[in-house]
Symmetry: C2
Subunit: 296 residues, 2 copies
DNA sequence: ACAGATCCATGCTCACACGGTATCGGTTCA
DNA sequence: TGAACCGATACCGTGTGAGCATGGATCTGT
């Protein structure tokens, strides 16, 4: 035969009471079934668990060892339902979070602390993905929430997380490298490092609109900001990058603010599927809906 | 209702196959009972464990958490019988070992390494007790084996572990403190530090025989050797102590060997109850009977 | 020393839980 | 739209396990 939980519970009770009668009483049982439970246990294990001393019983060494195991099994079984329920209502759980390389610099840390405030007990699992890949992963339930740039497919719910304007990154050799105040876009060269329309559609479109499609027909494309800065540094042209990237100091690259007339803000949004099965996400989404500004 | 192992096994199978039919096959079961097991589980936990997607099923977050718990429970249950059997045949286990303070100096370490050689996997639990207390503890099954001095009650089995002669401990101020060769007992003073007949009956009897009852009517009694050495050091008299204690160098105390005529050996025995229920002891006892000199 | 009490084991009966067969209802491809 | 697939449900039969009554062994008190 096989071990059963009833046998374990019976055994633990007898081992603690060292008396079948009292153990049976504790289990709301009569004594005979208990006797048979222990007998079955001893037959299954092929081990004597108790010494019958005529007056009560005594644990054998093997019985002591088995008691440890039985207690651990029952204890584990005791906490399992509560742990499962906590996971079900999102009190605990894992949030699979994706972010764009650009987004990471500006807001990832703040976003994580905000998540931590709203849903304590939930841990985050991080992946870096470009926005289109994030939407696909969201649809496939491979991630729970993404930090993406617009446009956001309407099937998803989203929330503005961060907004910043673009600044101009120029090579040190460029005429605009010297100086301090804002500059106009028209003063920049005709050479721009462009964003890849596949990897960074949003920034590509905005930049195209800012500069004009005609001048934006660039020779170099990139979707990763570090790559763009490397190209700028090599003197291949200027680039429009989010202000937060200015924190990234690169030898041979200067940043210039743009005239108010030319300034254009880019936004980053948290984005999730409203019918995700992850309760941790549900809880976070609920919190975001009710109190959008907490911890920002 | 309550959790059952069948439910856990069923749940794990379904969670791994993500398909009731295949899971049922793996469990040598048909599909309907499996459905009911999972339903019962979900009702008990008040949690949905699977998302029914029409085409197969998918674990919920809560289901994933519960799966962890279920696996741990089943794994624990898997190893329990084997661990219990090992404890039953003495392959693993605990040996509760008692020793006299005197015995500890001479043989405890060697005895433990010998036990380790004979019964690997068995751990020792140490207690210090005087011989009479050890016999009582052995009878009450509070310890498994003792290192005692004779006489050994005949209900116990025993084995000679160590034999040594007695030497004379004298205060530095004593006439015998200077010199090197063996001395005769008659040269010592009439003042002796005696062993307590309760705590150290054996040494008390031997010393009484060596010195003669008349001269052994001493004013100071002790059962612990360190105490005796302290009394010797204070100049209250001489003492007969086991040779191994000479390793204990005490300021103000000198040791002298005794004439061959006066020398008297004292023995230390391992002692255990032949019908002890501890399989680890049984295994050690069997080993001692078959091969008494291994590792000595 | 003997009678009674205590405690675990066993025989018997019965009910309920659990598994199997048959079938339903909903979803998904071709 | 029909066929195939998959999980849920209805119904029935069987075996496990609980209770009651009692046996057998050991300990206790007078």
């Amino acid at each position: 035969m096989d071990l059963s939980l009833q046998q374990l519970r019976g055994f633990v009770a007898v081992a603690e009471e060292l008396h079948y009668g009292r153990a049976a009483e504790r289990l709301n049982l009569t004594q005979p079934p208990l006797t048979r439970q222990i007998q079955g246990l001893e037959r299954t294990l092929d081990v004597r668990l108790f010494d019958r001393t005529g007056r009560g019983v005594r644990l054998t060494a093997a019985g002591g060892v088995f008691l440890e195991h039985a207690r651990r099994v029952l204890a584990l079984l005791e906490v399992a339902p509560e742990a499962t329920r906590r996971a079900a209502d999102g009190t605990t759980g894992t949030l699979r979070l994706a972010f764009t390389a650009i987004g990471a610099y500006a807001v990832l840390a703040d976003f994580l602390t905000m998540v931590g405030k709203r849903t304590p007990g939930v841990t985050a699992e991080l992946t870096e993905l470009v926005s289109p890949a994030q939407f696909e992963a969201l649809a496939n339930l491979e991630i729970d929430i993404g930090l993406v740039r617009p446009p956001i497919p309407e099937q998803f719910e989203s929330m503005l997380v961060h907004s910043e304007d673009l600044v101009l990154a120029v090579p040190a050799s460029h005429p605009l490298a010297e100086g301090d105040g804002p500059v106009a876009l028209v003063d920049a060269t005709d050479d721009y490092i462009g964003y890849s329309p596949e990897g960074s559609q949003y920034l590509h479109d905005i930049c195209a609109a800012m500069i004009g499609m005609d001048r934006y027909a660039v020779s170099q494309l990139a979707s990763q900001v570090p790559t763009m800065l490397a190209l700028v540094r090599a003197g291949l042209g200027c680039a429009l990058i989010p202000r937060s990237i200015m924190a990234m100091r690169v030898e041979g690259v200067r940043y210039r603010e743009l005239d108010a007339a030319d300034a254009h803000s880019v936004t980053l949004h948290a984005c999730w599927s409203p019918d995700s099965p992850n309760p941790a996400l549900q809880r976070l989404a609920e919190s975001l809906r009710q109190d959008p500004h907490l911890g920002t």
